[in-house]
Amino acid sequence: MTSTTGRTLAGAGTPAPKPSLRRRSSRGSILADKAATVVLWGTGAFVLLLLGAIILHFALAAWGVVSPSFLFSDPSDSSLGGILPILWNSIYMLVLTMLIAVPIGILGGIYMSEYARDTGPLGYVTAAIRFAEESISSVPSIVVGLFGLILFVDTWHWGFSALGGALALTLFNLPLMTRLAEQALRAVPAGERSASLALGATKWQTIRHVVVPLAIPGLVTGVILTAGRVFGEAAVLLFTSGIGTPAHYNFGNFSLTDPSSPWSPFRSATTMSVYIYKLQSEGLGAYVNQIVDGCAAILISMVLIFNLGARLVGRVLTRRMTAA
């Protein structure tokens, strides 16, 4: 009995288990345990150190580059210049995409959480939706961009447009938004629904006035997390919203159809991630490295803001709503 335990634990096939040997093997397994603990702590430390190094690197790289004049002036060939049109495009694309993706995603999440059945004839539809959700999530972003190229740019003759880019971003991020909305809605306790239905409310009234309001903290977190992904995406936009350096934008031109208006969705719109890709691949100009470092630092800060924001807003909303 003792011999077999000793053998399996030590992993060595010594036939004659002398007491001394057994003690050594158990000391060995304790040593292995200690070593494993150290190594596994090391993986955690590695991640933290790497993240710290990356943040520090960009903080140092952005020092002296990112300033109000960098954020709020036009790109220039001869000096450092600024990124105002590109920053504007990033925010514009984010808002445009979220305007399309959030309603569809939340409505889809409502279906998946409140209506979808796993059995019966509709069960096959639910399974198909889930399969589609997983498939889109695993399609490479560059392929989604190519789909946008063939559909919006070539077939519908939109050319490179902010709207085409936003639609491509929407279909790429719809699974994420839908899943996060579904999770937020599913987290609402079933008792709340039963109570509302027992008071005579219809199913839709229950969803509209009970379930969705209770899920708002989760929904807001989902929106922010999706926004974070939309903001940094580049591969989807390369072939849908274009990759040029925009000239000066006249923000007084509020036309929604004029291609030279910064407010129009029917113009090409290079975002910050795409701009990084463009600058590094061309490698032209004396200030390329500084500009890219500055843009990357802004992107990293936005990632931090989106992540911390999602946590903070979720927590604050939950506290306020549970207290009320």
Binding site: A36, V47, L107, S138, I150, V303
Partner: protein, 327 residues
């Protein structure tokens, strides 16, 4: 006749509110929002497949030619050959390298988070991982260009030779020269897929019942023995799922890889040499080619290959999950 037609609209009016009442409008709307994803997948498959087969249908390139190792798409410089084997091999090798680096690290990290880390450590490391997920791929690529690539060329730029006292030279490999290489691509990817593998593996470790752990520890095993002989085998299909998901992400990643990999359209030779992948060649060439020419059609064929890979991985993950549920 005239009376009949006069009566019909009235009857129709009376029926219509009934029909509207029977159709649950909100349900139809939310259903359409969810089902739009099915439509997206069908459109995606249809459009990419239609473009992807043009190389064979419109340009009459023999199907077997894509398995040739020669990529010579420019008709201006001799007879063309649309062998996409170097790209498929590049994608496989670079992804494989990334998995070799990332899997032990990510599984270790998942074990740390689920078995060892005290609450405070978990509450720091998990948000850090979420930030990793959020860092855009161009930023990873830029870090690769400005830090990793110069480091590789500076440190291992020349021929790498390992010699032993008596045996002499046992191993030699060409150096990195520029640093843009297979290894640089694999390293960048390994960090990018780390959060994916870690979070899925973590979930599968958490799913192992607590009683099994306490039972094992009560038998006198150490924590590492419990992990090694109980936790890893029971969570194996979950870990495999994690690896498949990491592989999918790595194979589909475009910009970060393209930026550090060197983009040489030949078969991968050594980890120190430039290679190319499906995604990076598409990214590079799509803008320089004309719609409808065989060169661009070959790029569409490559994106069809990518799409098939990703759908296959979804099916693979589902099979792994089914096995996990079954056992």
């Amino acid at each position: 006749m005239a009376q009949l037609t006069g009566a019909q609209p009235a009857a129709g009016l009376r029926i219509r509110p009934g029909l509207l009442k029977r159709i649950d409008v909100p349900q139809v709307v939310v259903f359409m929002a969810a089902a739009s994803m099915i439509l997206i997948v069908i459109l995606l498959l249809a459009f990419i497949a239609r473009q992807g087969i043009q190389l064979f249908v419109a340009d009459h390139v023999p199907f077997t030619q894509i398995f040739s190792p020669t990529w010579q798409p420019d008709p201006g410089s001799g007879p063309t050959s649309f062998g996409i084997l170097p790209f498929i091999a590049g994608t496989l090798f670079v992804t494989g390298g990334a998995l070799l680096i990332s899997t032990p690290l990510s599984v270790g990290l998942a074990l740390f988070l689920s078995e060892i880390a005290p609450k405070w450590a978990r509450s720091i490391v998990q948000p850090a991982l979420e930030i990793f997920v959020g860092i855009p791929s161009v930023v990873w690529g830029w870090l690769g260009i400005t830090i990793l690539v110069p480091f590789l060329s500076g440190t291992f730029g020349h021929k790498i030779v390992v010699s032993l006292p008596i045996l002499g030279q046992v191993f030699s490999m060409p150096g990195f020269l520029t640093g843009f290489s297979w290894l640089a691509g694999s390293l960048v990817l390994s960090i990018m897929i780390l959060p994916t593998i870690t979070s899925v593996a973590y979930d599968s470790f958490r799913a192992v019942p607590q009683e099994l752990r306490t039972g094992s520890l009560a038998l006198g095993t150490t924590r590492w023995q419990t992990i090694r002989h109980l936790l890893l085998p029971s969570a194996m299909s979950g870990v495999l799922t994690a690896v498949v998901l990491g592989m999918t992400r790595a194979a589909g990643e475009a910009l970060a890889v393209q930026m550090v990999i060197g983009n040489s359209p030949s078969m991968p030779a050594a980890i120190t040499q430039p290679v190319t992948t499906l995604t990076s060649q598409i990214t590079l060439d799509m803008g320089n080619t004309v719609f409808g020419e065989p060169w661009q059609d070959a790029l569409w064929t490559m994106s069809l290959v990518l799409l098939v890979i990703s759908v296959a991985s979804v099916v693979m993950v589902r099979m792994l999950n089914k096995r996990r549920m079954g056992s």
